[in-house]
Symmetry: C3
Subunit: 361 residues, 3 copies
């Protein structure tokens, strides 16, 4: 597939500076662009990077310089224009509604909107409800009495245990498991006995759950994820936890049971939370933080055990100087011993008693 | 759905203090209870929390006070009674045996008990054996020659590679993978060559494996999990590892190859173990511990690298004081320099030689 | 199943020292061997371990001693011979090509080699291409326009999003998800808006991806994994990341978006990388390392935040001495105070001014 620079400029309504007939065979960002492809710049630094890249042409802001070495198309919003062109090259998958595949297993008691799509291999249990335009992709398993809103996409091989509730416009990625048993046991006579599993998982609207993430059901109540919260791949959220609105959890975060987060909380990769913590609104937790205590709103924490980031960075800096510090202390010790020795010598004659006083102190 | 307080009291055989006809529309724990719902208390502190909660009524211990503000039902075991009521409100899924779904793919050489249930989309390979009353849920894949005991539940989309053995009463959650290849390579001429994969995975009886957990097969032998051990979601257990009985591993624990754990070992979230370690009976590993060496029985370890918890907590406390310590040392250094300077001045006249001795020391 | 020692010796072309008719009922490595089974030794230490093990016989190097207590079969390469015998005992699964199962869902626009095997429950989307002898196992979902090379195995329940490219001889384990959405958002008016998802995932040749690992697609371009790279279970690789050739990533490693690794990079378990880092050729990252900055080739890093291993080990050692160091500093402080006090006493008469100078310093 290839387009001329002129036709690309016309498509995105931009002004071309360069030869009209040059063929363009692909679109890629600066870091990945190869000869024959078009890239884009959003500022002058980017524009300079385009010049030294292998790109055949670039989409640039209107006020960018013109340079003989690189044909450019000038537009108001280069990234938006680039996306339009990139879509020409990348086969876009426009999935049409497919209705209910005869290869899906659908309970006769399920209520499925006419505009929903149920792909082959999907299992839809008794009493399940699925809203308008929602798509249940291949080999998804949705157990009894789940309620799925409108415009939801559940990607292949995800699993929803019974009674899970999913709000409108949620995206649930492949391999996600919602509603597995909470990890709670009572140990009696040397045996671990599973706690009650009467609760479920409830997602608000516009929630995204990344691939292979797991969210366990509540003991008696619901484990809940607030509206607009986005969760990356391989995150674990324990039973009874209440996640607020518009949180962002990066990959491999682990939240133990019965925690509660405010709104707009951000957790970087591999963060871990102990159970029963309260994390305030707008808290930010740095990568690999290990949080043992509740955190007030608007704080930025880091490290394991987690501390306010300013203190933690000082501690990190100090740790790097630790071997040096030990050497300094051992030198000091020697110097003090010498001082004491010489002091003892000096003082031995005139004020001999002071030494005894010192020992007694 | 709604029940009167009187009918609830009758159901659980309790004594009601409050208006008989009040309707109850749900059951929830104190932290989640909403108006119209009933909750429960197990002690006096809980009972006070009930008073200030939104609950319409509470199930409480026999000897609890009576308070006009909150109708209460008094019983010997409030939690047990609450569970009974909660089940009335929460649609309980009682899965009847379904036999072998025609939508499952079952090898003619598989031996499946008549009382077992094989759901749609399940794949049962050659030579597989499945015991009495066991349930293989939708889209589970069980490869050749696996042996599944009695009363086992395998939740949707779990995968058992060939030769996996599962003891009676195990629960295997959705997305679990048992028996994938061990991560062992020999590097020869710049290529990594996979080691042998002749082993398998063997689970004892009463084992629970959390969602999306992975356990790799042994090289020549079995990776084994002892009777009664409970494993949370997203745990990784490497090839050849031998896990003892009644262990508890929390979410996102990672155990490298060829480790061995005793009985009643507990690992908190995100713990990591290097390979070829021995962890003694009753060892407890705190969250995020990074274990590099074997650990004797009955020890409690914490931190990365992991240390005995008492020492580690002292170290954590000291780390928080590190910047302060550095300042203290730098002050001390100055003070000593002054002392040396003044000592030199003082001594320069009477005992000038001592200074030279010091330098030589 | 059982074989005589004589028949085993004949099978592997070895020389038997011991009774010919002893029956052997299994094969296991020294750590797992039980009575009745045969094991193997590759050196003299191993050979001694065989003597004290429960093994009934052992396969040993040609020059090993002969000992009455343990029948031995002497061969040039004991491990190779052992593998041959182990395979006799362990039911080996030789999967014959099965063609296209009528229980698979295969798009009429897919191009599938005649020698490929598509198992029941597999979903093959529009425009997918699958090469010679490749096996797509049960309940795998392959979305639109994926291209799978020759001799690839995709284990059960793995998911490939649209446009994923898989090189020849790749092994993709159960539960793997390739091409889910990258975790990139723009926050506007309090809402997080998903970034473009125009890219895909591209695996080179001879890549192995462990169970439940997730690799996200690029924003505009490809997330790529180089030839010969081996990735363990539950690893997360973020969008746009470029992994080099022959890397080894152990379990639960997490790599954020837009990183780039050289060739022969090794990451131990639970390592985490921040985004946009460059990791040079032959870098080794120790378990649980938290990498915040790019790393030059041939370095060995450890810790969180990660540092060169020599420095980090010194720091770890110093941390263990921290409580001791604090005590030392507090003792020094007292000793200096005493020295200052006595110095003040000594000097008070002759040189009283020096004290004031000190205070001013």
């Amino acid at each position: 597939m290839s387009f001329t620079l002129a036709s690309i400029a016309e498509t995105i309504g931009g002004q071309l500076f360069g030869p009209a007939e040059i063929p363009v065979t692909g679109a890629a960002s600066i870091a990945h662009v190869r000869p024959g492809e078009i890239t884009f710049a959003t500022n002058e630094q980017n524009w300079k990077n385009c010049l030294t890249s292998l790109a055949t042409a670039a989409i640039v802001p209107c006020d960018s310089p013109i340079d003989e070495r690189l044909p450019t198309i000038h537009v108001a919003d280069p990234e938006k224009a680039f996306i339009e062109i990139a879509k020409l090259f990348r086969a876009q998958v426009a999935r049409q509604p497919i209705g209910q595949s005869p290869r899906a297993s659908i309970s006769p008691t399920a209520k499925i909107a006419a505009s929903a799509s149920i792909y082959p291999g999907a299992f839809i249990g008794e009493g399940v409800e699925i809203g308008e335009r929602s798509r249940i992709m291949p080999n998804v398993s949705i157990m009894e009495n789940c309620r799925i809103g409108n415009d939801v996409t559940i990607f292949p091989n995800a699993v929803l245990y019974e009674n899970t509730v999913v709000g409108d416009r949620c995206l649930i990625h492949a391999g996600v498991v919602l509603g597995a048993f909470g990890f709670g046991y009572r140990t009696h006579a040397g045996q671990h006995h599973l706690s009650q599993q009467l609760g479920n998982v409830v997602l608000g609207t516009d929630v995204e759950i990344g691939a292979n993430t797991t969210i366990d059901r509540g003991t008696y109540d619901s484990t809940t994820i607030g509206d607009g919260t986005k969760i990356d791949d391989q995150v674990m959220i324990g039973h009874n936890t209440q996640v607020g609105k518009h949180n962002l959890f990066c990959s491999q975060v682990g939240i133990a049971g019965s925690c509660r987060t405010g709104d707009y909380v951000v957790m970087a990769g591999q963060v871990g939370l102990a159970d029963h913590l309260e994390i305030g609104d707008h808290v930010v937790l740095g990568a690999k933080a290990g949080v043992m205590h509740s955190i007030e709103p608007n704080q930025h924490y880091l490290g394991a055990p987690a501390m306010p980031i300013r203190e933690q960075l000082l501690i990190f800096a100090s740790m790097q100087k630790l071997p040096e510090l030990r050497r300094a202390v051992s030198k000091l010790t020697k110097r003090i011993e010498e001082l004491q020795r010489t002091a003892a010598t000096t003082q031995s004659t005139p004020t001999d008693t002071s030494h005894d006083q010192r020992e007694a102190a």
